[in-house]
């Protein structure tokens, strides 16, 4: 590697350390060297500006992905052998090494999450999910009468479970199943005359809801 050909060895060494000067992890001796050099080196100061921009762009916090993590863990549990014998309830034997891999449905969940993570439009991601998996979502061009009082909802991956639950309670809704492998919950609307269309429309307007659709009768209780 030849970081620069016309500078001193000290400059070449320091240039390599600049990213860790920016992320503030250098140890005291290295830090002192870099500080001393940078004071007198315009090239390194310019480099620091660029590195600072890169760091800033990459600093967004991890999405908690609470719902996705729950669904993923549930799926992994299926790979873990069931408890046996007299062990405590929260202790299970180690899983068999031949445990099955996550299926196609789990991968589709990741596709949707990845799209969300990388700022692809959420509706597009959900459309993709729908292409590969019969999620029981209705299309606008092929609708049947909705099941009385049920809607299917996909929440944003970063929406805390408690907030999702609170939102549903505010409309008299209750989760009756889910999430399925694509992260969709089936919600029953407890009302004298539930209106799934109106409820779904209301939910779609909420910022933490990626998708809401009335559920066909055959799809309830999947």
């Amino acid at each position: 590697m030849n970081p620069t050909h016309h500078h001193s060895d000290e400059h070449d060494d320091i240039v390599l350390l600049l990213p860790w000067y920016v992320n503030q992890t250098l140890e005291p001796a290295e830090l002192a060297r870099v500080k001393t050099h940078v004071r007198g080196c315009l090239e390194c100061r310019r480099e620091l500006q660029v590195l600072g921009q890169i760091e800033q762009a990459l600093q967004q916090p991890d999405d908690p992905l609470d719902l996705a993590a729950h669904a993923s863990f549930r799926q992994l549990q299926e790979r873990i052998a069931p408890a046996a014998g007299t062990q405590p309830a929260n202790v299970v034997p180690l899983p068999a090494k031949s445990a099955k891999k996550p299926g196609r449905l789990g991968k589709l969940t990741s596709l949707a999450l990845a799209a969300s993570l990388l700022l692809l439009a959420a509706p597009l991601a959900l459309r993709h999910v729908g292409q590969d998996q019969p999620l029981d979502y209705q299309t606008l061009s092929n609708r049947s009468a909705p099941e009385q009082g049920h809607v299917r909802v996909v929440f944003a991956p970063n929406l805390p479970f408690a907030e999702a639950d609170q939102l549903l309670r505010s409309i008299g809704g209750q989760m009756v199943s889910g999430p399925n492998s694509a992260g969709a919950y089936t919600v029953r609307i407890d009302a004298a005359k539930p209106d799934p269309d109106a409820t779904a429309e209301f939910l779609r307007q909420r910022p933490g809801v990626l998708l809401a659709e009335p559920v066909l009768q055959a799809a309830v209780g999947e």
Binding site: N23, P61, D66, S72, F73, R79, A115, L118, Q131
Partner: protein, 198 residues
């Protein structure tokens, strides 16, 4: 900066906030405590999701790789020898599995997957999100780096690790980490310059 020892907000996690808590979780996992494993899972899922996706750019394999990584934690927690932080051990496992996955897929130029993904999803009407993505030159530039350079960038600037710890995760010499970073920086700057000229 998002540090590897930060707390997750997943309800089922108990927000362990430092390596000590993670070590105690690992000890319980070694004893077969599934509740501890669930906590650990919630703590690492979002971090691994981003890390693996950044390296592989293959969204169809992220879930599988996360599960495979954390399955190793479950099955082989006794192989953690405490010579490094728990997070270093876990990310090292994830990195190796991500590279194997790329090798198996026969492609380490990961542009293809997201391009294909976007083609499938393409909508003729630009959305704010798609416009934002188009404007995000850094994401575009990162996608053109090889996986090992993306890993160094991610672990440095997102996870805030010292190059020594990155070397442990990537299982390579410290100078290799510095060199990968140097070449990655130059490519990013070249890309930025090219974009600004357009």
């Amino acid at each position: 900066m998002v540090r590897l020892a930060y707390s997750a907000s997943m309800p089922m996690a108990d927000n362990p906030s430092d390596g000590g808590d993670e070590s105690s979780l690992l000890e319980r996992i070694h004893a077969g405590d599934t509740k501890a494993f669930e906590r650990f899972y919630g703590l690492y899922y979002p971090r691994l999701f981003r890390f693996i996706l950044r390296i592989t750019h293959r969204p169809d394999s992220v879930e599988e790789l996360i599960q495979d990584t954390l399955m190793v934690v479950w099955e082989k927690s006794d192989s953690f020898d405490h010579s490094c932080k728990v997070s270093t051990w876990v990310f090292g496992i994830a990195y190796r599995k991500a590279l194997k996955s790329l090798a198996k897929a026969g492609r380490d130029d990961s542009n293809v997957d997201f391009d294909e993904f976007a083609e499938v999803l393409v909508d003729p009407t630009p959305t704010p999100a798609s416009r934002l993505e188009a404007d995000n030159w850094l994401e575009a530039a990162l996608s053109r780096l090889p996986p090992d350079q993306r890993a160094v960038i991610e672990l440095t600037f997102h996870h805030g690790l010292h190059y020594r710890e990155i070397a442990e995760i990537l299982d390579c010499p410290e100078n290799t980490v510095k060199t990968r970073m140097f070449h990655a920086r130059k490519k990013l700057q070249s890309f930025a310059a090219a974009v600004s000229e357009d």
